[in-house]
């Protein structure tokens, strides 16, 4: 059993399971964020964000989520080091075999996502949790919520912040494009009929999620 943490296929299994978990998280995160542009005010978003920040089950899930990110990144780095060591001397002529384009740049897009993660966490999560940048707001029902929505609107009114978000989110989209179908292949799910469906779903997922996330800062900048 211990070989599952140390062998090449075992490490890939860890990567793919953590990756699939992160794919599910991205959908949930998008579902909450998209309320910022679907509703006129930020009330729905603030209620959802406060629930996510205070609910005990979600708090446990938050730890698991950080664990998932860490697992995916650490195993990714370990596998990458192994890959670099496997070819100490490269080719003079770059390889141009017929392969899926985005799969060649998973490391590059992973670095883009890491940069995004640091910026994004500092922008909202750290400011909300530790810096006290988020004020409270009381709605008609008398309940008090964190007004995270106000901070988001404020940030996305700054042009360069929107541009940085859009560029970095495109990196995420490219990563998801290959990552989705790759996770299934690693799990051993490869079938003449179902694999094309999984690949199409992967393209749909990456396009929908990326467009969804990008639309939030862009919409706020121009229309809010």
């Amino acid at each position: 059993m211990s070989n599952i943490f140390t062998s090449s296929i075992g490490k890939k299994l860890m990567m793919s399971l953590a990756g699939l978990f992160l794919l599910a998280f991205l959908l949930l995160h998008l579902a909450i964020n998209i309320t910022l542009i679907l509703y006129k005010d930020t009330e729905t978003f603030n209620r959802a964000a406060t629930f996510m920040g205070t609910n005990p089950v979600i708090k446990v899930m938050e730890v698991i989520l950080f664990g998932g990110f860490l697992l995916h990144m650490v195993y990714g780095a370990v596998l990458q080091v192994g890959n670099l060591m496997a070819r100490p001397k490269g080719y003079k002529k770059a390889n141009y075999s017929q392969t899926s384009f985005f799969s060649k740049y998973m490391l590059h897009t992973a670095l883009i996502i890491t940069i995004f993660l640091v910026l994004h966490l500092f922008d909202f999560w750290v400011k909300n949790k530790f810096l006290g940048s988020v004020h409270e707001i009381t709605y008609a029902d008398g309940e008090t919520y964190h007004n995270l929505g106000a901070l988001v609107l404020e940030r996305f009114k700054i042009g360069w912040v929107v541009v940085v978000y859009v560029v970095l989110l495109l990196g995420l989209g490219f990563h998801l494009h290959h990552g989705f179908q790759s996770a299934f292949q690693t799990l051993g799910i490869n079938h003449k009929s179902y694999t094309p469906v999984i690949k199409t779903l992967g393209v749909l997922y990456s396009v929908v999620v990326t467009t969804g996330y990008i639309s939030i800062p862009v919409y706020i900048y121009f229309f809010k």
Binding site: M1, I9, G10, L13, N83, R87, Y96, S182, T186, K192
Partner: protein, 262 residues
């Protein structure tokens, strides 16, 4: 014009000229460098290895050392030849070995860069020849069935579904040339190992040692320092026998099953 002369005019091919940039390395410890050679009047119907033979003859005539390269059957079944030509293992064509590549696939005046397979477990021995015994070690770790063959068994004593036999046969088409490792951006040998695991996994004879086999072969592959598969598919695109990525998925399933059902 006589008919004979007319025919000879038609079939007269246009000879081609090439600039070759070839990796030269004295021995395993030497540093190595690219040497440039000009080659004239090459027939488009010449195979790539025949073109190298012509080059070598010219080098020998000039009392220079010929270029070393691996070759054996020259009909695409032995897996001995394998050169990284202009950024692709086995050169610019699909489903072929280097010996099946013809010069008509290039344009007259082309510069052709010829390199050896590059991977830590495939060290260069001399010029374009690499040591591929790492593949033998993986096979020795578990790529076999331990039964005494005895006499020839009657046909159909062990029923095998046609579909499984076809899949096993497709996997067994692997000639172990190493193009998958050479093409992979991570120098991973997973397509090779997957093909060898698959060919037994699909047949009843392979079931007895199935669990042990996949665990030992993957362990050996990791030990030898091959990279990790990122499902890019360069191996499948360059494999001369067009072994499918689905075999890697099957190997992963076999591996998980062997690990969790131990």
């Amino acid at each position: 014009m006589s008919l004979l002369r007319y025919r000879s005019e038609i079939i007269k091919f246009k000879e081609m000229n090439f600039t070759l940039k070839i990796w030269r390395q004295e021995n395993a410890r030497a540093k190595g460098r690219f040497e440039t050679y000009q080659l004239q009047d090459i027939s488009p119907d010449c195979s790539f290895l025949e073109m190298l033979d012509i080059l070598n003859q010219q080098l020998i005539d000039k009392f220079e050392k010929p270029v070393c390269f691996d070759h054996d059957c020259r009909e695409g079944i032995c897996g001995a030849c394998g050169l990284y030509i202009n950024g692709r293992p086995h050169g610019p064509d699909k489903g072929i070995t280097t010996c099946q590549l013809h010069m008509r696939k290039f344009k007259d005046g082309d510069t052709i860069v010829v390199e050896p397979w590059r991977a830590k477990p495939f060290p260069v021995i001399k010029d374009l020849v690499v040591d591929r015994s790492a593949f033998d070690k993986i096979i020795q770790a578990g790529g076999f069935i331990s039964v005494n063959t005895g006499g020839v068994p009657d046909a159909n004593t062990i029923p095998v579904p046609r579909k499984n036999a076809d899949i096993a046969m497709d996997a067994a088409a692997c000639i172990g040339c190493g193009a998958c490792v050479a093409a992979c951006k991570n120098a991973s040998a997973m397509l090779f190992v997957a093909a060898k695991v698959s060919q037994f996994a699909m047949l009843p004879q392979g079931q007895v040692e199935a669990k042990e086999r996949v665990l030992k072969m993957v362990q050996k592959m990791d030990e030898l320092g091959f990279g990790n598969c990122t499902n890019t598919g360069a191996c499948e695109a360059e494999c001369p026998k067009e072994i499918s990525l689905s075999h890697i998925a099957r190997m992963n399933r076999e591996y998980f099953s062997a690990t969790f059902n131990a």
